[in-house]
């Protein structure tokens, strides 16, 4: 039977270094190629030896697809393509393609320059890797080759995140890392609604989370900013990505207006340039519906928010500054941090995860003394606040996604085995569910439908019968004959393969006969008569009072109404149809005297 095979190379039943191999219709696809942030040795990479023990991966993979720019999904990509070796296509959305190299380079710098690691990819390798990337547009079918088709859909949990639909023939797989409510409503309910892939692969990490409302997170953020401003302190907010910074700006702007606050809010120019660039990227990348729902404000249209100048950092009094980069590891945000760290009235709000080795990571771990360049120490006296604004799905969102897609099978990755049992049980009430470990292959049997052309005449005839128009929700049965040129097999084998039982068809017929003899005498006369007429057939007179001609059974009984009449009961199987009807006509003519 045809099957689709799925093997997680990383993030099977653990978290970190997502990398999943899918074999579908003879094609091999790698989904994501992440780095495990918790390890410092080769364990941080997925185990590619599963694909081949030695040599390059090009011949073994038809394509690689990256879902979004987080390092646990793309961090091992340059290692895989340049150090292990892969020259085939790498697909990702435009924003992912724009952001990945920046994050990979930042990460490389921190790992090699700051931590002194050697077995790591170089800047040139990152560049060479990105040359192999083919960017994807949303809702656009891409033919990887004659048989393999892929299509990206908006997932929304970070900029550029996509759900991917993979199709070979009539078999399909959908891969999603996470999906937020927004995507479920706006991604075009049409496609995911009952798209019924053979397998839906999804991460289970967030399935055990019930998210605090956005309103409460925002409330907390505004409260912290307000408290700091009220006591005359300065608030530094290091940001990277577009969505986050703009969202927080809009929040502050509205709050400032409502509370009639006067303290200045600044937006560093470095971020503005990047932001505008990403903004344009983002706007062209998403579709109309999504665009309409996002606030389309230019960075400079804010009443209370102004462009930042380096010199402002020394101004007295309260202020709020958004600066890049997001993990405080270099650039303007670090400069401002150094100036403000010594004052306990000030605050730094970290709006997301920081990679190990960065100053952001250190202060979030409670470090209050930092070693800076030139062996100087920085005393961290300002308040450090860690806030999370990520838009991942949660328990409810994942169930919603699964119910909308209606997969034939569900496959969960990226969670610990012990923590996936309940979710698995919950999904199994409605769908099949697999939870493979790393290196474990799940083979899912598919039942691919065979697409068939219909002759125009047959279609016209069906339409002429009237009735409602064809509707996918109300299938109509029609009759026709399918001509196929295939192997010939025995009917037993065909039945076995199709899983059908053989049915026997028997006909019965009653013949009235005028005959005054006893039932058994009549039967004997029939026997003699048939034996003389049908010389080539097997005719038996059985002790149970029946006569058999091949498979045809003849019984005699007296008629209830007429004492001189007999009722003959003939019964034959479908295969003996011809003989059966011949016998019944023959016997209707009566018996020779």
């Amino acid at each position: 039977m045809p099957e689709i095979k799925v093997t997680p190379l990383g993030a099977g039943q653990d978290v970190g270094r997502s990398c999943i191999l899918v074999s579908i219709g003879g094609k091999n696809i790698m989904l994501d190629c992440g780095m495990h942030m918790g390890y410092n040795d080769d364990r941080r990479f997925p185990d590619f030896s599963y694909i081949t023990q030695n040599g390059r991966l090009t011949d073994f993979l038809d394509c690689v697809i990256i879902s979004h720019f987080h390092l646990d999904h793309c961090g091992a990509l340059p290692y895989m393509s340049e150090m292990v070796g892969y020259d085939g296509p790498i697909y990702m959305t435009h924003p992912t393609k724009a952001i990945c190299p920046i994050l990979l380079e930042d990460f490389r710098k921190i790992t090699v320059d700051k931590k002194g690691e050697t077995n790591f990819f170089t800047s040139q390798m990152i560049k060479d890797c990105m040359k192999k990337v083919i960017p994807l547009n949303l809702h656009q079918t891409v033919q990887v080759d004659d048989e393999l088709e892929i299509k990206a859909y908006y997932a929304g949990h970070v900029l550029g995140a996509a759900m991917v639909h993979i199709k070979v023939g009539s078999e399909s797989v959908v891969y999603t890392v996470s999906v937020n409510k927004f995507a479920l409503c706006h991604s075009g309910a049409a496609w995911i609604d009952k798209c019924r892939p053979d397998i839906l692969i999804s991460e289970s990490t967030y399935a055990t989370t019930i998210r605090d409302s956005k309103r409460c997170r925002e409330r907390d953020f505004l409260k912290k900013v307000h408290e700091t401003i009220e006591r005359g302190g300065k608030v530094l907010i290091p940001v990277f990505a577009l969505g986050r910074a703009q969202e927080l700006c809009i929040l502050l702007e509205t709050f400032w207006e409502r509370m009639n606050l006067k303290a200045p809010i600044y937006f560093s120019t470095g971020l503005t340039e990047k932001a505008n660039h990403y903004y344009k990227l983002f706007i062209t990348w998403t579709n109309q519906k999504i665009r309409k729902t996002f606030v389309q404000r230019n960075m400079f249209e804010f009443k209370h928010i102004k462009a930042f100048d380096r010199s402002y950092a020394d101004n007295p009094g309260p202020m709020v500054v958004f600066a890049t980069p997001g993990m405080l590891h270099a650039g303007q945000s670090l400069q401002i941090f150094k100036k403000w760290a010594g004052n306990d009235k000030n605050m730094v709000i970290m709006p997301g995860y920081c990679v190990q080795g960065t100053i952001g990571h250190k202060i979030l771990n409670g470090q209050r003394k930092l070693e800076m360049e030139g062996r100087s120490t920085l005393d961290v006296k300002l308040q450090v606040e860690y806030m999370s604004f990520s838009a991942h799905a949660d328990a409810k969102g994942i169930m919603q996604l699964i119910r909308m897609a209606e997969p034939r099978n569900m496959l969960l990755v990226h969670g610990e085995a012990a923590k996936m049992e309940f979710l698995k049980g919950k999904i199994e009430q409605e769908f099949n569910c697999y939870t493979p470990a790393n290196g474990e292959t799940v083979a899912v049997t598919t039942n691919p439908s065979v697409p068939v052309d219909i002759s125009l005449n047959l279609l016209k005839r069906e339409m002429a019968l009237g009735g409602p128009l064809p509707d996918p929700k109300k299938p109509r049965t029609m009759h026709g004959t399918l001509i196929m040129k295939e192997n010939l097999v025995s009917s037993e084998q065909a039945l076995k393969e199709l899983g059908l039982n053989e049915h026997q068809l028997r006909f019965t017929c009653r013949v009235q006969l005028q005959d005054p003899h006893s039932d058994s005498d009549t039967l004997h006369r029939i026997y003699t008569h048939l034996k003389s007429v049908l010389k080539d057939y097997t005719i038996q007179h059985l002790p149970d009072g029946t006569v058999m001609v091949e498979s045809i059974v003849i019984k005699v009984s007296s008629s209830a109404e007429d004492a001189n009449a007999k009722v003959l009961l003939l019964s034959w199987s479908y295969q003996d149809e011809d003989l059966g009807s011949y016998l019944s006509s023959l016997l209707k003519k009566g018996l020779p005297t």
Partner: protein, 356 residues
């Protein structure tokens, strides 16, 4: 604005509404569905940010985590955790039978049904359940005053029966010490009994009209009992002198017909004299009985949590949202959890308006 009224505020949306919130540890609570078919029982871990005290600012975790989950064939109307164990006992509100559950340990996230205990009577009403730390584990249960019994979980053996003839349905059962408990009836009668003796319990008649009545008792050293009627009459007595009323007040609530399971009244475990009420208006109200006198007077709530009706998702004119239950955190003085019929669950730490 809510920035000043709350120290912390978390708002969650469960897939299905719950009418129970039961502490299973200082950090975890159980919630469960009450629809007529299959329901989920979930053990949730409170957001780390709420619990982290000195390290609060460095903790970004604001979400509930489902640490264990299981399935119940019927509605869960009552769920009690057996202290000192990982066992919980539930009742479906339709019969007096009890179901026993293993809430699971570190090696699994599944809550499994381990057995059942037959009910005490053929009544068509659900049972109230209570438990306290004991060895071996025991559970106190019953649908009405004549059928309250203490059962040993492992053997199913009946260790004690409340000797009362009246068949009044119970509104609550609660242990006030290791061996004494309060059985409160919907008509306002309360019985204080000792499980060590078969002597009849102390009975106190209803303190007034307007049943149904709801009751809560606080253990030593306060030893207070509060009885609340559906018209908002509140009567506070000393546990050792149930017949007398220490003070009375008329609460600021609407008088609407209420089913016994709709209303919750609870003493604050760590705020002397404070108690909370939900189900008599669309809010959770907190009152301070400290200044109350023997002659009834009107009382205004010290604090009101309006979150559930304000953020209600049913803005389309469908059934109004009502609060199904609420609980206090056992140690943190002003932290409460409340749940509503739209599936919302709020965790909030309120600021005492008097301290501003």
């Amino acid at each position: 604005s809510c920035y000043l009224r709350y120290k912390d505020l978390h708002v969650y949306q469960l897939e299905h509404p719950t009418q129970i919130i039961e502490w299973t540890s200082g950090k975890t609570v159980c919630v469960a569905g009450y629809s007529s078919g299959k329901n989920e029982i979930l053990e949730l871990c409170l957001p780390l940010k709420l619990l982290a005290d000195e390290k609060k600012s460095l903790c970004a975790e604001r979400d509930f985590k489902v640490v264990h989950g299981g399935f119940s064939e019927g509605p869960v109307c009552c769920l009690t955790h057996i202290p000192g164990t990982r066992c919980a006992v539930t009742n479906d509100g339709l019969t007096s039978d009890l179901q026993l559950w293993d809430l699971g340990a570190d090696d699994t996230d599944v809550i499994r049904k381990t057995g059942s205990l037959p009910g005490t009577s053929v009544s068509q009403a659900g049972s109230r359940i209570a438990a306290r730390l004991s060895s071996p584990p025991q559970v106190l249960h019953g649908p009405q005053s004549s059928s309250v019994q203490l059962t040993q979980l492992s053997t199913g053996q009946t260790l004690y029966r409340l000797e009362v003839d009246s068949t009044e349905p119970l509104s609550s059962l609660k242990f006030v010490s290791e061996t004494t408990f309060l059985a409160s009836c919907c008509d306002g009668t309360v019985y204080l009994a000792d499980t060590r003796t078969s002597a009849p319990p102390q009975a106190s008649p209803p303190p007034g009209e307007c049943a149904p009545w709801w009751t809560d008792a606080s253990a030593a050293p306060q030893c207070r009992v509060i009885r609340l009627s559906s018209s908002g009459q509140a009567v506070v007595s000393d546990l050792r002198n149930l017949g007398g009323a220490l003070c009375r007040a008329q609460l600021d609530v609407q008088t609407l017909p209420r089913k016994p399971e709709d209303v919750t009244v609870a003493w604050a475990p760590a705020l002397d004299g404070c108690f909370s009420v939900s189900g008599l208006s669309g809010l959770v109200q907190i009152y301070d009985s400290a200044g109350w006198r023997a002659e009834p007077q009107d009382a205004s709530p010290l604090f009101q949590h309006a979150g559930h009706s304000v953020s209600s998702q049913h803005g389309d004119g469908s059934a109004p949202v009502f609060i199904t239950t609420h609980v206090w955190h056992p140690e943190r003085p002003r932290t409460l959890l409340s749940a509503a019929s739209d599936g919302s669950v709020h965790v909030w730490d309120w600021v005492d308006p008097q301290t501003n």
